[in-house]
Amino acid sequence: MDTQSLTLALGDATHAGRTFDVMPVAGDEPVLQVVVSGAEETPVYVTVTDTQILCLAYLFDEQELNPERLNELHENMLRLSVPMPLSALGRTGDHYVVYGALSPTSGTTEIMQELVTLAENAIDLLQTFEDYLA
């Protein structure tokens, strides 16, 4: 699966009543921004490498957080990351993210399942961690 065939496959697809709005983002490496219907506030970014299909949604930046409660937040993130379906929590630069990785041989159904779950998880996490925002 590459980003081009993924763009075509998602454009007309429906999964669990959701549709996908795919926008390729210009750059050296192809990245797709996928908006899942019903979860428009948390777009999912998708890249494909030889080893994995990485799907990632942005939650918040470190500057947005209450510094005094940072340790408590990290602890809760580590704990929640394990039971959370199909996704894990992490960080890139100053951004806290939720992500899921799939095998590059995954089919469209698995990818759609991942995208829907990830976008929903991102919304749930934003609500869960609301108290930690500054």
Binding site: V25, A26, E29, V31, Q33, P43, T51, Y58
Partner: protein, 110 residues
């Protein structure tokens, strides 16, 4: 860790996502700001850039918010009014918003 695994390709992919995220945020902001400056909706601004038909002027410039029951409670407390006297609360809200706009316009003239 004795030997760091070579995940440089994956690292590059993460960086690419980061760039894409920053770019799409910047693009969205540019559209919101330019739309506001030209007194247009963001959707019309997108249509203008794409040279699709769009409304030149807003049909009716609106500044409305939907106040919920709990908002009326908060505002009544703030203004020292009865929460059921919604007309009076709305009037105070309009006054406060006008005062903000006047202040903002004076400030940005300077």
């Amino acid at each position: 860790m004795a030997k760091k695994p070579d995940w440089s390709k994956e690292e590059q992919a993460v960086q690419a996502v980061q760039l894409a995220f920053d770019l799409s945020n910047d693009i969205q902001r540019a559209f919101r700001v330019s739309a506001a400056l030209q007194d247009m909706t963001t959707a019309d601004m997108v249509r203008k850039v794409l040279q699709l038909p769009y409304r030149k002027n807003r049909a009716r410039p609106r500044l409305t918010i939907t106040l919920r029951d709990e908002d009326f409670e908060v505002l009544a407390k703030k203004y020292g009014l009865d929460p059921n006297d919604r007309a009076a609360i709305r009037q105070r809200v309009a006054g406060e918003l006008q005062a903000f706009a006047r202040h903002y316009l004076t400030e940005s003239d300077q």
